[in-house]
């Protein structure tokens, strides 16, 4: 386990370094004059030069890189080209808003998909309840395909425009979380519930489940104590992958709901050619995904001593 953890952490560090180099090199890969592009063609050359100096762009590249990294270590992510505010200040609260969406969506996914999939498996085991099986696989198959932003638009139309139950957009109160979280999680709930059902059916057919039935345990113990732990690894592996995917999904969902988070920020910054801001958000979101994936692997390694993740 210790060796596995060390190797996994080493891989995380390498990935983060690659990400860091990519985000740093971004501004250098842009053809032409990014600062001129951001400030507009009519900005005086002196202003462009001053801004380039502030951004360390007039120094040799190695010096720029050390400045970039040391800035990150102290929490300084540079200055927005458009608003002239420190990037860390622009990001601050928005980071919390995005994290809240992701956390709530993940809780909804794990909390709903696992019981749904287990119940579907128990109902449809040994070819029982064909109708339930068809309804379940068709319904979840459909929902798993509809992309977040389309689902978000559909939810807005139904619950905000037609029924008027929930706010259309923005972050106004607890009720304003409902639709974004739903749009972000429903597809993943459907996808995970399908996998949970298949895993659960596999577990239910195992000899040890027959042995558990031979002990005449109550259904609660049979399913929760004997079945659940055996499908946990597969469930958490997929759940972990979905968690990483949620970070990307928020970018789309936030833009449907005009949610004041990192997703709206990064799109606005790209459109406005505010490279300093875009660079910082890409770094943050990318690092979040990489760290989440590593943590999921470590947790799985600890939970299941025979996990195949350790071998990989």
């Amino acid at each position: 386990m210790a060796r596995f953890a060390a190797r996994r952490l080493a891989r995380l560090v390498v990935s983060l370094v690659v990400l860091l180099v990519l985000s740093f090199s971004m501004i250098h890969l842009i053809p032409g004059e990014p600062v001129r592009a951001a400030l507009g063609p009519r900005a005086p050359q002196s202003l462009v030069d001053a801004r380039r100096h502030e951004l360390y762009l007039d120094r040799p590249v190695p010096e720029q890189f050390t400045h970039y990294v040391s800035g990150l270590v102290t929490g300084d992510m540079g200055t927005s080209l458009v608003s002239n505010l420190p990037v860390s200040q622009v990001i601050g609260e928005r980071l919390v808003n995005t994290a809240a969406l992701v956390a709530l969506a993940f809780a909804a996914i794990m909390g709903l998909a696992v019981p749904l999939g287990m119940a579907a498996a128990i109902l449809t085991r040994d070819g029982g309840h064909r109708g339930v099986e068809v309804a379940f696989t068709t319904g979840t198959g459909f929902l798993a395909i509809v992309p977040e932003f389309v689902l978000g638009v559909a939810l807005v139309w139904l619950f905000a425009v037609r029924l008027g139950w929930l706010p259309v957009a923005g972050k106004t109160g607890p009720s304003s979380y409902v639709l974004p979280v739903a749009a972000l999680s429903i597809g993943s709930i459907a996808a995970l519930a399908r996998i949970v059902r298949v895993e659960m059916l596999k577990v239910l057919a195992e000899d040890y489940m027959r042995a558990a039935r031979a002990k005449r345990l109550p259904a609660r113990l049979e399913y929760l104590r004997h079945a659940l732990p055996n499908m946990l690894t597969a469930t958490l592996t997929i759940g972990g992958l979905l968690l990483g995917g949620l970070v990307g999904g928020t970018v789309l969902v936030e833009n449907v709901f005009a949610w004041p988070g990192l997703g709206t920020t990064v799109v606005d910054s790209v459109v406005q050619q505010d490279f300093a801001l875009a660079q910082a958000v890409i770094l943050l979101l990318g690092a979040a995904v990489l760290v989440i994936n590593a943590v999921v692997d470590l947790v799985l390694g600890m939970l299941d001593p025979r996990s195949t993740i350790m071998a990989a």
């Binding site: 990935s15 992309p147 389309v150 638009v153 002990k215 995917g245 833009n255 799109v267 890409i282 995904v289």
Partner: protein, 597 residues
């Protein structure tokens, strides 16, 4: 693959996709001008007869724009898929043709890029290349490439281990030829399948980018762009949102369903078996018995697999059930314990009470099961102690400490060394023989009257088999528990059991004392089974004795004796009339028209 397209889902999705392709080709020609026609007198109108989905901010017809946008939406998705496959497939094939070190480096790179989120890469490229369709296509293509590479790598590795690739290596055909002639053609089918699904994904992803304003730029438009333009006016003209939403979902669904139908086409389907008739056998019913089974049937609609089994077990007795695989002996055991799948008929009573009416607790403590493979019958996720103790905790309401103490005692009684240490271990830490001892100890937790052991030694080494048999024998003598011992091994049954039931094709064909097996068996099948047991003294110059033919499938059994086609003594009657179990002496019953003596 072709068969998959004949399923309703496959055919429907293929038709839908072809429809989209036709639309992509003709829509710009038919409705291109209508979609571009600016009409300042009809700005942002809701749906009407002239404009079913309303008009946009410049008075252009929304429906025409959705139809025309099919071309760009599909084209960009196809381009992105080409980029993904063009990068991913060669890259994934690299490890199988490179040397070991090169393969490692390629694998590491694939590992890393799979982990990186696609949308962030798209945003990164949008910054570097400038916002637009080109950046979107490249981004989604590059972001999808790792999954192609991973799939190709896995498939190529599996093909790389096959005999024909090994043979090609032996004649040294060269790496490039190996790849193009031997590896790629053999993995083409799953790759095509993945391409279909990837195209669907690319369509949705590029629509998403266009929706964010990072994809197609005006004056061009695709479905994502149209949705982006319509969303702010969802209150005024919700119809305008409807068009792109339906288009995106339908196209995504068509690609995905087709991919799934193709995938399912490669998987096998179970075949249903025909119905068979049956007649339950009569039963003898002495009183004071522990277990009484009469006319037991188990069927998987419509096939009857256990066809009227009757048997009795006296307290403390060891009864063997022998038969070839498929004879229904294991299902009989499961049905006695109320664990059989399928539908069960007939009567099973324990101490004179029907088992179906017994409570969980009574059944759980009085009947114990020991299954064939202890490696799979113990729960891999739970500690040994937990699995043993829970029987008492649940059925006797015993506190954990007491249940644990009993569990330790039972582990000792099955002669497991250091039981305290074993209690804290998981099944995978024990040897096969030890696991079977644990299974038996688990059965003993409730002090059962009846232990049903279903091939308990078949998965174990011969030396361990002997230990387990001796253990069962000793336990039965010590505790007074009766044992039903199921096996296909005549020699083992003869050594352990007092009485033996021989099953064939779902029926008991003979019941006799184990001691009479060698000399007194009356049914030709029993005699053949006995004769086919080789011993150390057998003349090795002679071929091993076997029974000609094979046992019938459950669906093939009709009227008459099921063994008749393989029987040397069968007469005309055997093929027409089913023989019932008849008394043959005081301690023997046989179901045969021509019992041998």
């Amino acid at each position: 693959m072709r068969a998959a397209l004949r399923t309703p889902a496959g055919a429907l999705s293929l038709a839908a996709l072809l429809g989209f392709v036709v639309l992509a080709l003709v829509a710009p020609l038919l409705w291109g001008s209508r979609a571009a026609q600016v009409d300042v007198s009809h700005l942002l109108e809701p749906g009407s007869a002239a404009h079913p989905l309303g008009t946009d901010a410049l008075g252009r017809d929304n429906l025409a724009r959705v139809l025309v946008a099919t071309r760009d939406s599909l084209l960009l998705a196809v381009l992105a898929t080409v980029v993904a496959a063009g990068i991913g497939i060669p890259f994934g094939a690299l490890p199988s043709v490179l040397g070991r070190r090169g393969a490692r480096a390629a694998n590491a790179l694939i590992d890393f890029s799979v982990a990186f989120p696609a949308l962030l890469l798209a945003i990164f490229l949008a910054v570097v290349l400038g916002v637009g369709a080109r950046a979107a296509v490249l981004a989604i293509g590059i972001a999808s490439a790792p999954s192609f590479a991973r799939l190709t790598q896995t498939l190529a590795a599996s093909v790389g281990g096959s005999d024909y690739v090994a043979a090609a290596r032996v004649v040294d055909v060269g790496r490039w030829r190996l790849l193009t002639r031997h590896v790629l053609p053999n993995i083409a089918e799953p790759l095509i399948l993945n391409t279909t699904i990837a195209a669907g994904y690319a369509l949705l992803a590029i629509s998403g980018l266009s929706f964010l304003g990072l994809g197609t730029q005006p004056p061009d438009y695709d479905w994502g762009r149209l949705l982006d333009e319509a969303l702010p006016r969802i209150y005024v003209t919700p119809e305008a949102v409807l068009g792109p939403v339906v288009a995106i979902v339908a196209a995504g669904l068509a690609f995905n369903t087709l991919g799934e139908a193709l995938a399912r086409g490669t998987a096998r389907r179970p075949v249903r078996r025909p119905r068979a008739g049956a007649a339950p056998a009569a039963a003898i019913s002495p009183s004071g018995t522990l277990l009484e089974v009469s006319g037991l049937t188990v069927s998987f609609d419509p096939v009857e697999v256990v066809r009227g089994v009757s048997l009795t077990v006296e307290p403390g007795e060891i009864v063997g059930i022998v038969g070839e695989s498929g004879s229904g002996k294991s299902l009989t055991a499961l049905a006695i314990a109320q664990l059989a799948p399928g539908s069960v008929g007939g009567a099973v009573t324990l101490w004179g009470r029907g088992v179906a009416e017994l409570s969980r607790r009574e059944l759980g403590t009085s009947v114990a099961m020991v299954f064939q493979d202890p490696g799979t019958s113990l729960n891999p996720a739970l500690r040994i102690g937990r699995q043993l103790a829970e029987v008492l905790e649940v059925h006797a309401g015993a506190p954990r400490a007491e249940a644990t103490a009993v569990a330790l005692d039972r582990l000792r009684s099955v002669r497991i060394a250091r039981p305290e240490a074993r209690m804290a271990q998981h099944p995978h830490e024990l040897s096969g023989g030890m696991r079977q001892r644990v299974m038996i100890a688990m059965g003993l937790m409730g002090e059962p009257d009846l232990i049903i052991a279903d091939e308990p030694t078949s998965a174990l080494d011969v030396t361990v088999q002997q230990q387990i048999l001796r253990l069962l024998d000793g336990l039965s003598a010590d505790s007074g528990a009766a044992v039903i011992f199921i096996s296909h091994d005549m020699a083992v049954v003869a050594a352990l059991c007092g009485r033996v039931l021989v099953m064939y094709a779902g029926r008991v064909v003979e019941e006799l004392d184990a001691g009479a097996l060698l000399a007194g068996a009356a049914h030709p099948y029993t005699r053949a089974l006995v004769a086919s047991v080789p011993d150390m003294a057998a003349d090795r110059s002679q071929p091993l004795a076997t029974i000609p033919g094979r046992p019938p499938e459950p669906g093939e059994v009709g009227d008459g004796c099921a063994f008749a086609p393989r029987c040397a003594f069968a007469g005309a009657r055997c093929f027409v009339e089913t023989p019932l179990l008849r008394e043959l002496g005081a301690r023997q019953r046989v179901a045969c028209w021509f019992p041998q003596a």
